[in-house]
């Protein structure tokens, strides 16, 4: 006995962003048009349908929030769900929709588990309960082969419940497009009519393809689906929808992430002892944390507590866009050990050069940093501070990009106004260098000069061109040449 679960709106449901305020749809480019590939119930009730043009959908609901389909997070989410399904069956097949697969799906052999779960009804309701907990929308079908289960999952609810194979419209069989069209155009609309056709006649027209499909459907031929194998470790990545820039928000997101870990572990009947957490920022920059437990666990709240503690020692340098999780080897769990586990976190950064660590210990973590270049004409945006060295490639990119203009190493955070008396003593070395840029985010128009002040320091000063000055212009010191 096989159970097929078709996740019709997986591209949207896999995102699990429950807090959205608008009607939401996910679109993907198909034949150069943006087409709807998933929609929330609200959008569906406005008449938006899968496969519809985005422009068409907007006609029905102007304020829909639109997301582009992203395959990687969909795949990661379904792979995690396959781990959950492992709890119900040792034969699990999963796939997300692509050019060949019409709908994201999970197929489970449940015959062997019926006894364990005290019968079909109990088993199914347990599965149903789990799935509604995840808020995944799905269509289920039962059959004697995976293909039959899928075919029922594609059918109208009336047939889906307890129909016979022959009642299925042939479009539920997901035959090759051409074969399906030819059959339909020949007046063959239902499976019973198809089964009644002489095999030789079918072979003559479609080769083996339709016969093979029918044999698989009836379980007379191996189903040929790739089966899920429990991975040696838990290894996944959660894309966040909307960047998170504070620890608080991160803790909230992690709660759900760990819930999924727990579901997976209970399905796999396993536990883990180490979990590497990678916070992924823009440009694939990362912050890495290691959560180390003193003993294997599969408890979400334990993980959460450890993570919380660990995070309190970390300052987020940049917004988090995604979270990667990698565990150590999964261990078969011993159920009664749970309460014995204690938690302890440890820094993975023990390898920092010792000197740096000592300076940081003395002066505080924030006191030590790196200056990185950024491609922007405006001096105060031309560089930024970070608590780690830039990766070599990015540094190179910027170095070759910029004309090597004379720039002071030391820039004042807030430029200092120069008194009129002071300015009179300047010796003007060069300038003006005119910088007018950044109109898209505030903007700046300045003339920069290099001057020597009366103590012989080489200063970098500017005058704001945006301010009309009646008489003598105001100058500001912006930097100091080494």
């Amino acid at each position: 006995m096989w159970l097929a679960l078709r996740f019709v709106h997986w591209p949207l449901d896999a995102r699990r962003d429950d807090e959205a305020t608008h009607a939401r749809v996910v679109v993907a480019a198909q034949r150069q048009r943006q087409r709807i590939v998933a929609a929330c119930p609200e959008a569906l009730s406005a008449g938006i349908r899968l496969g519809m043009d985005l422009a068409d959908a907007r006609l029905r609901r102007a304020d829909i929030e639109v997301f582009q389909r992203r395959i990687a997070p969909e795949r990661a989410a379904l792979a995690r769900l396959a781990g959950w399904a492992w709890g119900y069956s040792n034969e699990v097949h999963w796939a997300i929709a692509d050019d060949h697969i019409e709908c994201s799906r999970l197929v489970l052999e449940i015959g062997a588990s019926l006894k364990l779960f005290h019968g079909r009804q109990r088993l199914l309701s347990s599965i149903e309960q789990d799935l509604s907990g995840f808020a995944y929308r799905y269509q289920a079908g039962l059959g004697t082969s995976p293909q039959a289960a899928l075919a029922f999952a594609r059918a109208e609810p009336a047939i889906r419940q307890d129909g016979v194979l022959g009642d299925l419209p042939i479009h539920c069989l997901c035959l090759a497009n051409e074969a399906e069209q030819t059959l339909a155009a020949s007046g063959i609309t239902h499976t019973d009519a198809l089964l009644a056709l002489p095999p030789a006649a079918l072979a003559r027209r479609f080769g083996r393809s339709v016969l093979d499909a029918l044999e698989r459907l009836q379980g007379q031929r191996p189903h040929g689906l790739s089966l899920y194998d429990l991975p040696p470790r838990y290894d996944t990545r959660h894309e966040l929808f909307g960047a998170i820039d504070n620890t608080q928000g991160l803790v909230f997101v992690l709660r759900r992430v760990f819930e999924e870990v727990a579901v997976f572990l209970s399905g796999a009947d396993s536990a883990i002892q180490t979990l590497r957490l990678t916070l992924i920022h823009e440009d694939e920059q990362t912050t890495k944390l290691v959560l180390k437990l003193s003993a294997p666990s599969h408890d979400a709240r334990h993980l959460e507590r450890v993570a919380h503690e660990r995070l309190s020692q970390v300052s987020l340098t940049a917004p988090v866009l995604a979270i990667g999780l990698t565990s150590d080897r999964l261990r078969r769990s011993a159920h009664d050990q749970r309460r014995l586990w204690a938690m302890q976190a440890e820094s993975s950064e023990a390898a920092w050069p010792g000197v740096l660590d000592r300076i940081r210990a003395r002066l505080g973590h924030e006191a030590v940093g790196w200056i990185h270049a950024r491609a922007d004409h405006r001096p105060d945006r031309g560089s930024y501070h970070a608590d780690r060295p830039a990766d070599a490639e990015a540094a190179d990119r910027i170095a070759t990009d910029q004309t090597s203009a004379p720039r002071p190493i030391w820039l004042l955070d807030v430029p200092e106004r120069v008194g009129a008396d002071e300015a009179r003593c300047f010796r003007w070395i060069s300038g003006p260098e005119r910088i007018e840029s950044g109109w898209w985010d505030g903007g700046q128009r300045r003339d920069y000069y290099r001057v020597l002040d009366d103590t012989g320091r080489l200063l970098w000063i500017f005058r704001d061109l945006g301010v009309a000055s009646a008489d003598a212009p105001d100058y500001y010191v912006h930097g100091l040449f080494g």
């Binding site: 155009a185 020949s186 898209w440």
Partner: protein
């Protein structure tokens, strides 16, 4: 300022400046640059667009206006990444420049260019100044040394180093590096601005361009953006602070040395058409005389003779005879090949064109004005537009290329400019908006609300933008609109020349392979005095020719355009009843509602109909007074006898451009040329202004002739309104001729006309389904596409048992081209195989027709196999079997037991008909649901037409058309079709808001409303609209939306 003036201390000439014709680089129009340079007192400005002279004519015109000295040049970034600027010193230098640009452009795909150091060596640039522009503050790369060494060796006196300073961080270093080069090569330095915009504020747009060119956003473009806005036309005082006087003086001297003016280009039309012993003028006269005898076999009237002499004298004086001979030759060639063609536009004002067979309208029979076509004072070349059959125009184009060679014939360019949506898309992209957000913003923008409202509306639709950013964005979109984006090919404007074109203007590749375009568009050509002939395509000409052929093939009767009897009352009766589906021009919805009111009864009425039933005149309120005057001609009064002469034909309402010209001539004593000047200003005043001087001239002239002030004002206002929609009578006359001919054919040869329309698709307003339905409604027997009988195209068949009826009542056999998915090649093979012998069965058809799977399925689904295989289901089942075995086992027919297949239901058949051929000869789909609709209280379309005005209506039908004419104040028109009639539904704005989705996307609609009747014209004014598309199931229907 004269360039012979001594050079003053603060003089400056800009030698390096790009306009927006350096696409996505320059941020100002050429006109803006010239105007600003003049205002700043520059000694000269060189326009040096990147490998282009596309902006040259515009700059030249602006320079004339502002008495600014313009130098033509171009800049090139060589493959080796060094930059060279070439300036034309004289006429020869200009030719050298054109050749260089042409070579670089032709060596690349459309829109790009390719020039290397090695290529450069193959060009003669001895009459150009050559400026080398080194990159900012960089150590000179080897290529720069190579370029300098090469140039200095070949042109020791005309090479300069160009120094551009923009207040960068390393100006001193840059100057030093250039000085080193100067010393090394002995090449003087000149000051240049490397100008990209006329004023500093365009920096924002220039940044946007940089981002677009790099396929990124301004925020991410980083240091690729210009660091500041200094690359504008700076005041001379600022430049004096920046560049040494010597360098500025050097620039001025170079500017003074460039003496080329576009006026100097000599242009001759190809001369080979003149036979030995003739001059062009005498040959033209001979052809005209010959034509005149043909046109007026009873002798040429004195008035016409006089006109011919006047025209020939003028043509000769202006040096145009070659041009007329060329057009004549092209038209003659088309005739010889049996391709229908007809001149349109202002050439219809010319008797010479009529005699040469270029136009078909006798100008003597209409009040046409030769001045509208050519005039002595106006230094503009004549412009002749000729329509050819759209399916055979390519033959003519190839003839022209073959006759004159590719070096002497090229298409004019069309400058594709930014429009609101494209401007929004590019600005949005550069500002980092997603494609989806851009769509939303563009949608809101098209409604033209103010910023605040737009921001709110955007927020409602989920797009939140910072107010400042939005403001900035809208400003950018505004500026960007009208900017050139790229050059494209003109629809058919050929420029021909006696000498190679590339000596006159650069030639570049078009998108189509083997097409080349010149870098100037039609306005440029006109300004410079180059002549073009428009070789245009017109679907109706193909249709008419096909119709003639079909009639000849079926009845042996040979028709021709000239041979169609005039004043045919049956034809006019049909037109008055608005029974005009398929007829040229008057088949649109607006035209069809107007026909029963205007009741055209003679040819001139058709001319008027063509001219006024268009959005402009309807909006301009011209139609109503004319209708009123027609109902009561006695009431029409004229301000003077003289004006009665001008306006009587159109019952006091000025309808044609020529009439406005005549009014000015008659009432205010304008000369013919002045009147034409007024016409041109009329067309352009909304864009350029410049109508005011004419107001004074017109009013004083009218005062002098005793017209009162208020009348003069009224006339002037009318002229102003006229500007946007005035239609030349000559054009209307040419079109009206096609209206009449096509109406005549539809009236007397409905089967042939319908077949010709089908064979000329796509064209016109109606889909094949409506054309076929209309033919059947007119008693034409239409027969389905069938492999046993159909040709590739639709054709006429005799009805069995009847002799081929001489005129009508022929049956229309649909062609295999109606079968969707069947290629023309496959259809041709089927027809050829059948000619050998008829098909015995499906296997025979598949084998001898060599039909692939796609073709086989297409035929089965279109029910074109009925005679060989039975119904659709059986045909499909059988042909699927033929599939696998046709090649290997062609002779083996495996015996197969009959399989029990259900017969297709009628609904399924109709659906399959539509889906496979776009039409059905069975019942109308709505007929099948009639009983259900009746239960809902829906009446048939025919019943609706019988309702009284204001009666409640309840109709349903398939949506075949949606329109929202600009003239209709937010009203949307929807056409519904059922098995009895088509119903026109009016959806008011408030109703649309309520039923928006249904109105805009449903394929089957049910409408509750009221009847609006005006005589025979009926509309259903909608109150409630229901989407009934679900009833159609998988039936695919097609609607022509907002066309």
């Amino acid at each position: 300022m004269e360039y012979s003036d001594p050079i003053h201390e603060d003089d400056y000439a800009e030698l390096c400046c790009v306009s927006n014709f350096s696409f996505h680089r320059g941020a100002s129009h050429p006109e803006e640059l010239i105007t600003q340079a003049a205002a700043l007192g520059y000694r000269a400005l060189a326009l040096t667009d990147e490998c282009s002279l596309a902006g040259a004519v515009r700059a030249w015109m602006a320079a004339e206006k502002h008495h600014m000295k313009l130098i033509l040049g171009s800049r090139f970034t060589l493959q080796e990444d060094v930059t060279l600027i070439a300036l034309a010193r004289n006429r020869e230098g200009y030719t050298q420049l054109c050749r260089l640009i042409t070579a670089a452009r032709r060596a690349s795909d459309k829109g790009g260019y390719r020039l290397s150091l090695a290529d450069l060596a193959g060009h003669d640039l001895s009459c150009c100044w050559l400026l080398v522009l080194p990159a900012y503050a960089q150590a000179p790369p080897p290529a720069l040394h190579a370029l300098l060494a090469d140039l200095v060796c070949r042109y020791p006196r005309s090479v300069r180093l160009a120094l551009a300073l923009h207040r960068g961080p390393l100006d001193a270093l840059h100057v030093e590096r250039l000085s080193k080069l100067r010393r090394h090569y002995g090449v003087p330095i000149v000051a240049v601005g490397d100008v990209h915009m006329h004023c500093r504020s365009r920096l924002v747009l220039q940044n946007v361009f940089t981002a677009l060119r790099r396929h990124t956003t301004v925020a991410a473009a980083g240091t690729a953006l210009a660091p500041n806005g200094e690359r504008y036309l700076r005041p001379r005082a600022d430049l004096a602070l920046l560049y040494p006087a010597k360098m500025r003086a050097a620039s001025c001297r170079i500017a003074d040395d460039c003496v080329f003016d576009l006026r100097e280009i000599e242009y001759d039309y190809p001369a080979e058409l003149v036979p030995a012993g003739h001059t062009s003028a005498s040959h033209l006269r001979k052809l005209v005389e010959k034509g005149a005898i043909k046109r007026w076999s009873n002798g040429v009237l004195a008035k016409v003779r006089e006109q011919i002499e006047k025209e020939l004298a003028l043509i000769d004086a202006m040096g145009y005879p070659h041009y007329f001979l060329t057009v004549h030759d092209i038209v003659r060639e088309a005739r010889a090949r049996g391709i229908l063609c007809q001149g349109r536009g202002s050439s219809a004002n010319s008797v010479v064109c009529y005699c040469l067979g270029i136009t078909e309208v006798d100008p003597g029979r209409h009040e046409l004005l030769f001045e509208r076509f050519i005039s002595e004072s106006r230094n503009e070349p004549p412009d002749i537009d000729v329509d050819f059959e759209h399916s055979r125009r390519e033959e003519i184009i190839q003839y022209i290329y073959a006759k004159y060679g590719r070096g002497r014939a090229a298409l004019a360019a069309t400058v594709i400019r930014y429009r609101p949506r494209s401007a929004m898309r590019d600005v949005g992209r550069a500002l980092g908006l997603s494609a989806d957000q851009i769509d939303v913003v563009a949608g809101e923008l098209s409604r033209r609300a103010d910023d605040g409202t737009i921001a709110e509306q955007l927020a409602e639709r989920g797009v939140r933008l910072d107010a400042r950013l939005l403001h900035r964005m809208l400003g950018l979109v505004d500026t960007l609109m009208g900017f050139p984006r790229h050059l494209s090919q003109h629809v058919g404007g050929f420029v021909l020349s006696q000498r190679p074109l590339e000596e006159l203007v650069p030639v570049e590749n078009a998108a189509m392979p083997d097409r080349t375009i010149i870098q100037w568009d039609k306005d440029d050509l006109e300004a410079v005095g180059l002549m073009k002939i428009d070789v245009l395509a017109l679907g109706m000409l193909s249709c008419i020719r096909r119709c003639f052929d079909l009639i000849a093939g079926h009845t042996g009767r040979l028709l021709s355009m000239a041979g169609i009897p005039a004043k045919d009352s049956a034809t006019y009766a049909m037109i008055q009843a608005a029974d005009t589906i398929g007829v040229f021009q008057i088949e649109s919805r607006a035209q069809m509602t107007m026909l029963p009111r205007l009741k055209p009864a003679r040819f001139f009425d058709l001319v008027v109909e063509v001219a006024i039933v268009r959005p402009g005149p309807i909006q301009g309120g011209m139609v109503h007074p004319y209708l009123k005057a027609r109902e009561n001609p006695a009431q029409v009064s004229y301000p003077s006898e003289a004006l009665r002469g001008v306006l009587a034909r159109t019952l006091g309402v000025p309808i044609f451009q020529e009439q406005v010209m005549k009014i000015a001539m008659v009432a205010a004593d304008f000369t013919g040329d002045e009147a034409n000047g007024l016409r041109k200003s009329m067309a352009a005043w909304k864009k350029d202004g410049g109508l005011e001087p004419w107001r004074e001239r017109l009013k004083s002239g009218m005062r002098a002739n005793g017209y009162d002030e208020s009348f003069a004002d009224r006339i002037f206002e009318q002229i102003k309104g006229f500007g946007s929609y005035g239609f030349p009578e000559s054009h209307a006359v040419s079109f009206a001729l096609l209206v009449y001919v096509s109406a005549y054919l539809k009236c007397h040869y409905p089967a042939a006309f319908a077949a010709a329309l089908l064979n000329s698709q796509p064209m016109g307003f109606y889909a094949p389904a409506q054309i076929v339905a209309d033919a059947r409604a007119h008693g034409v027997a239409v027969r389905a596409a069938d492999v046993r009988y159909s040709e590739v195209e639709s054709r006429l068949e005799s009805r069995p048992g009847e002799a081929a009826h001489p005129d009508r009542r022929a049956a229309l056999r649909l062609g295999l081209d109606r079968v969707k998915g069947l290629s023309e090649a496959a259809a041709t093979r089927i027809v050829a195989a059948r000619r050998e012998r008829g098909f015995v069965d499906i296997a025979d058809l598949v084998t001898r027709g060599a039909l692939d799977k796609r073709a086989r399925d297409a035929l089965a689904r279109a029910d074109a196999l009925a005679g060989l295989a039975g119904d659709r289901h059986r045909a499909q089942w059988q042909i699927a079997a033929a599939a696998v075995h046709n090649d290997l086992f062609a002779d083996i027919q495996p015996v197969e037991d009959d399989v029990a297949l259900p017969a297709p239901a009628e609904g399924a058949d109709i659906t399959a008909d539509y889906n496979s051929t776009g039409l059905t000869l069975r019942r109308h789909p709505v007929a099948l649901m009639r009983a259900e609709l009746a239960r809902l209280g829906v009446m048939s379309g025919a019943a609706f037409k019988r309702l009284n005005h204001e009666a409640t209506a309840h109709v349903a039908g398939i949506v075949t058309m949606r329109q929202r004419p600009g003239s209709a104040k937010g009203v949307t028109f929807v056409t519904l079709e059922d098995e009895t009639a088509t119903v026109n539904v009016i959806v008011r704005r408030d109703v649309l808001a309520q039923f928006r989705v249904a109105v805009l996307s449903a394929r089957l609609l049910r409408v509750v409303g009221v009847m609006q009747r005006a005589g025979a014209v009926t509309h259903c004014l909608a109150h409630e609209i229901v989407d009934e598309t679900a009833r159609l199931g998988t039936l695919q229907t097609r609607s022509r939306d907002f066309h």
